[in-house]
């Protein structure tokens, strides 16, 4: 252990005098910054990915753990392309293409979060949702949808605890409203809902929290199944520039703006009130 400390001290001192932190593997300036998920030691993405691959190839037993070359702590993924609030993740010994839980739908949803929020918000009548207090009707798809959403955003498989936590916040909001405790106005009620959801989700979703909360509201207000909601989204995201789609499909989003079939019974709903 003694030599480890010596090594680290030596490197620290020579690095600080150089006023830059070289990658511990190539000893050059870091290119494509990448961090290990537990100890946060910094490497070039290529260097640490090469080492992870090499290390895995040497082991007869497949392992999902990568020891940090610098401090020896156990890590599970390489985090890279950190830009503001988004980042990519490379799990050790796990090709994201073949990963069992991260489906195409997950990838699609993650892509949706890269878009400007609000790209789709005028498709659904959100205000109506709050006006007619439709949040009092439980949404049976919500839990499954939340799970996929949070998996897509965190790129973690086991998110049950987070889902449970967020469902709990939504349910307690509903209960408060059912019992008529809250004397909030429609707008206040909506703000309160979003604020408490933000607080619940922020520790897990960080920079994507607001966008996520907007999505939850939209999903609830849409009253659609998961598949139908995805369909609306994919139609919205298709741009005329993409060559793969036919003319008919190109026209669809515009038509949807005025005449979204799913929305009809929402209007009826409000008429009945």
């Amino acid at each position: 252990m003694e030599e480890d400390n010596m090594q680290q001290e030596e490197e620290k001192s020579s690095f600080s005098s150089n006023d830059y932190n070289p990658c511990p593997i190539c000893l050059g300036p870091v290119t494509h910054e990448a961090y290990l998920d537990r100890c946060f030691h910094k490497y070039c993405y290529n260097c640490i990915a090469r080492w992870a691959k090499f290390f895995a190839a040497q082991n007869s037993q497949p392992t999902s753990i990568l020891k940090c070359p610098f401090c020896k702590s156990d890590n599970f993924s390489i985090v890279y392309e950190c830009e503001g609030d988004s980042f990519q993740r490379h799990y050790i010994n796990q090709d994201p293409e073949t990963s069992t839980f991260y489906s195409r739908a997950h990838k699609f949803r993650l892509r949706c979060y890269y878009r400007e929020p609000g790209a789709i918000s005028d498709k659904f009548n959100v205000l109506q949702y709050w006006k007619v207090r439709r949040y009092l009707q439980p949404n049976k798809w919500l839990q499954i949808w939340l799970k996929r959403e949070i998996q897509a955003l965190t790129q973690e498989e086991d998110v049950d605890i987070v889902v449970h936590h967020i469902v709990g916040v939504i349910e307690s909001f509903m209960r408060q409203n059912e019992q008529g405790i809250s004397k909030r106005t429609i707008e206040q009620n909506r703000e309160y809902f979003k604020a408490s959801l933000c607080d619940a989700a922020r520790p897990f979703l960080m920079g994507r929290t607001e966008h996520f909360v907007n999505e939850v509201e939209l999903f609830l207000a849409s009253g659609l199944t998961i598949e139908a909601y995805d369909d609306v989204y994919s139609e919205c995201l298709e741009t005329p520039a993409s060559s793969a789609i036919s003319e008919d499909e190109e026209m669809m989003p515009h038509k949807l703006n005025t005449e979204l079939p799913y929305l009809h019974f929402f209007d009826e709903d409000s008429d009945a009130e």
Binding site: E2, Q7, L27, C47, W51, P69
Partner: protein
């Protein structure tokens, strides 16, 4: 291969810069081959190797730093973890505990640390290991000191 070469040049630069700081280790690169290095290390004080200067030979693989360098003692040394004939060194960081964050310089330091703290339970030199394991510290020390005088110190007169 290009990566190993680039990294070795970085180490060479660092070694030349650091020479003054650490005078227990002198790392020299072969004139014509960046993959061949030799090192001179001073025997650590308060050990039977004190006063001796030991020569190490490094053969760096093309996969370096993913693979560890091969290091052996060129100077004869009586140590439980060094093969008496070939100079081969039994040290975890040169085998399965290798990490690409080690450098040739830090490997030298690890070897100096090994000289001061032998591991008699994984011996390459059984005679030396047995002396330590049977508790004959004096026997081990006098043997080690004798070989230090014979092989690692300038001849007197």
């Amino acid at each position: 291969m290009q990566a190993s070469r680039a990294r070795l040049f970085k180490e060479l630069k660092e070694v030349q810069r650091e020479k003054v700081v650490d005078n227990d280790i002198q790392l020299v690169c072969d004139d014509s081959n960046i993959f061949k290095w030799t090192a001179l290390i001073k025997g650590p004080s308060e050990t039977p190797y004190e006063g001796g200067v030991f020569q190490l030979a490094f053969a760096v693989p093309e996969q370096y730093p993913l693979q560890p360098p091969q290091v052996r003692f060129l100077t004869k040394i009586f140590h439980p973890n060094v093969h008496f004939k070939t100079g081969e060194i039994c040290l975890d960081i040169l085998k399965n505990a290798w990490s690409p964050a080690w450098t040739l310089q830090s490997v030298c330091r690890a070897i100096i640390a090994l000289m001061a703290h032998p591991e008699p339970d994984s011996p390459l030199n059984c005679d030396s290991g047995n002396l330590l394991r049977s508790g004959d510290l004096r026997g081990y020390q006098s043997m080690a000191r004798m070989y230090t005088r014979l092989a690692a110190m300038p001849k007197k007169g």
